[in-house]
């Protein structure tokens, strides 16, 4: 034992890889059920009216959003952190018993948190704040999990052999700090039972903010949860995995630094665009709109940097499904970071607000960019952590095309649905009478809702292919030697 050469230890990374796949399937399955419910309302009571409380749209909706954000994505972020962190800092988790313990504690406490969230949401226990539905006891548990990750993150950085921090590490640190700040401030709440001397349920709370202030804090949080959950850590991943898998150095390292600081400075000011034409002061609405447009620059800075990293190596996109996933991810990143600022322009927002176009925008970002990048990262990690070849390249290709078709169906149907909806809501005659009632829009949108449900179902099928491929890689892939793992991941036909 004493003479064994030091190796990276992926124990914790593997644990989080497992929850990434499982919670990804759960979250997306619930999403697909919701999509079919919207197209065919009878699906709400598919298991009978006795359990309708647990199967209806409103009960399942937060379960979908929280499972994909805090289940799938967060697990993916941590799986990659416990992999990338060690490698670019050139230090192994095996070198510190404390860090190993913290890593495992991090995972198991997280799992307890996940169970608490699923149970409480299914029981209908919620603060009613979007993406922050958890009641105060769960919030406290989440803060503890976050602090443990922080200890583990800065602990590993403290032990490093590499003096400089690779750009991905900066992004992981920003994820940690950003979410910590947002989560704490948005979840400031008063437990009513204790404040009132024993009235109501012990877990119930009310927000410390009210009215417009509550809305402002909520959307400062909500929008920046997208920033620090769906953008910053995913950029961290692509800055490591794309160069590593393709064997190409980042096109411009300096541009990556500039984009990093640009993103950090601009993103936090854009949340107000969720509240355009509301009771929020007008100057704040304008400011958030302007910052949203400026946000194109740092976003495209990273995305262009990634595409240019492939300069002269574009044949890899054709030959490797793994590179395909990443190049499509960064293309979708460009696409949705152009779409978002357009929607944040006041005159466009007047049509887009509250419509399905917003839902479409979220999903081309999350399905096309976030999930594609996380799955690509896991595919790259699998041969290295399991020391086995990826089970099937053709299965990966099939998954890629099925899911790409799914995303395209999803966002195109939601574009049409959203703009139709927005136009119909606004239409009026010469006297100002509305031309349509709400049910008119529902009738018109039905085919697009069905197309969206089909798109979502295709994406879910891809998730099952992904899970199967990962499982077979872990259990039945050909064993590989260290020298096969330098750049392009080994995969069987």
């Amino acid at each position: 034992m004493e003479n064994r050469p030091l190796e990276y230890d992926y124990t914790v990374a593997k644990m989080f890889m497992l929850t990434t796949v499982l919670l990804g399937i759960v979250g997306m399955l619930v999403g697909v059920i919701l999509a079919w419910q919207l197209a065919f309302p009878s699906v709400n009571t598919i298991l009978g009216s006795g359990v309708a409380e647990y199967t209806n749209f409103s009960r399942l909706r937060p379960l979908h959003t929280d499972a994909v954000i805090f289940g799938f994505t967060l697990s993916g972020i941590w799986a990659t952190w416990y992999y990338v962190g060690q490698r670019v800092l050139k230090v192994s988790m095996a070198e510190s018993k404390v860090l190993m313990f913290l890593g495992k504690l991090h995972f198991w406490l997280y799992l307890v948190g996940v169970v608490a969230v699923v149970v409480s949401l299914l029981l209908g226990i919620t603060t009613s704040k979007e993406y922050a539905e958890f009641e105060w006891p769960i919030d406290i548990a989440i803060v503890i999990v976050w602090v443990i990750w922080g200890l583990s993150l800065f602990g590993l950085i403290g032990m490093r052999r590499e003096k400089s921090l690779y750009i991905s590490i900066w992004y992981y640190i920003a994820t940690f700090l950003g979410i910590a700040m947002l989560y704490l401030f948005n979840n400031m709440e008063i437990p009513t039972y204790f404040a009132s001397g024993g009235i109501g349920a012990w877990w119930h709370s009310v927000s410390m903010y009210s009215g417009t202030n509550d809305a402002l804090v909520q959307w400062w949080y909500g929008h920046n949860a997208v920033a620090f959950g769906f953008t910053v850590p995913i950029v961290a991943m692509i800055y490591y995995f794309l160069p590593k898998e393709s064997g190409q150095a980042v096109f411009s390292y300096k541009l990556s630094l500039l984009s990093f600081w640009g993103l950090m400075f601009v993103y936090l000011w854009a949340g107000g665009h969720h509240l355009l034409f509301s009771t929020v002061p007008d100057w704040m609405q304008t400011m958030s709109s302007v910052f949203s447009v400026i946000l194109i620059l740092p976003s495209w800075g990273s995305a262009i940097n990634m595409l240019l990293t492939m300069k002269g190596e574009w044949q890899q996109v054709a030959s490797s499904p793994l590179i395909k996933f990443m190049v499509l991810a960064s293309t979708f990143y460009m696409f949705s970071t152009l779409e978002g600022p357009i929607q944040a322009i006041k005159s466009v927002n007047a049509i887009a607000h509250f419509t399905d176009w917003i839902v479409g925008h979220v999903h081309d970002g999350t399905l096309g960019w976030v999930a594609f990048m996380i799955m690509a990262a896991l595919f790259h990690m699998a041969p290295r952590v399991f020391k086995r070849e990826i089970y099937s390249k053709s299965l990966m290709n099939t998954q890629f095309w099925i899911q790409t078709l799914g995303v395209v169906l999803y966002f195109t149907s939601m574009w049409i649905a959203g703009i139709t909806q927005g136009m119909m809501w606004r239409a009026h005659d010469e006297f100002g009478n509305l031309a349509y009632s709400f049910i008119d829009t529902v009738t018109v949108l039905h085919p697009y809702y069905t197309i969206r449900a089909v798109g979502g179902t295709l994406y879910l099928i891809g998730m099952f292919l992904f899970a199967w491929n990962m499982y077979k890689t872990m259990t039945a892939g050909r064993r590989v030697e260290e020298n096969e793992l330098q750049n392009a991941s080994p995969m069987a036909a």
Binding site: P5, L6, E7, Y8, R87, V88, K90, V91, S92, E95, M159, R160, R161, E162, K163, S164, Y166, I167, S168, Y239, Y240, P243, K244, G247, A249, V250, S252, Y253, K254, L255, L257, L258, V293, I294, L297, G301
Partner: protein, 74 residues
């Protein structure tokens, strides 16, 4: 010209100015790999490409410390 029109022109030229400044700066970064202290940032890309635990760090923490933690390795 009323104030709204002035604002609109002002807004347009400000955005144009920022875009020109930003992209000139990006071009400048790309053209001169090294900054004024002679540091070549592009070498940091190698932190991802050469990331085996036995690979040589781009910038060691310090000779002394590296030796200390490296002991286990030998």
């Amino acid at each position: 010209m009323d104030i709204a029109q002035l604002q609109a022109y002002g807004y347009f030229f400000l955005v144009l100015f920022l875009v020109v400044v930003l992209y000139s700066y990006i071009y400048h970064l790309y053209k001169n790999r090294k900054d004024h202290d002679g540091v070549d940032y592009e070498k940091y890309s190698n932190m991802a490409l050469n990331d085996d635990i036995t690979d040589k760090p781009v910038n060691k923490v310090s000779d002394k410390e590296t030796k200390k933690v490296g002991d286990k390795n030998e």
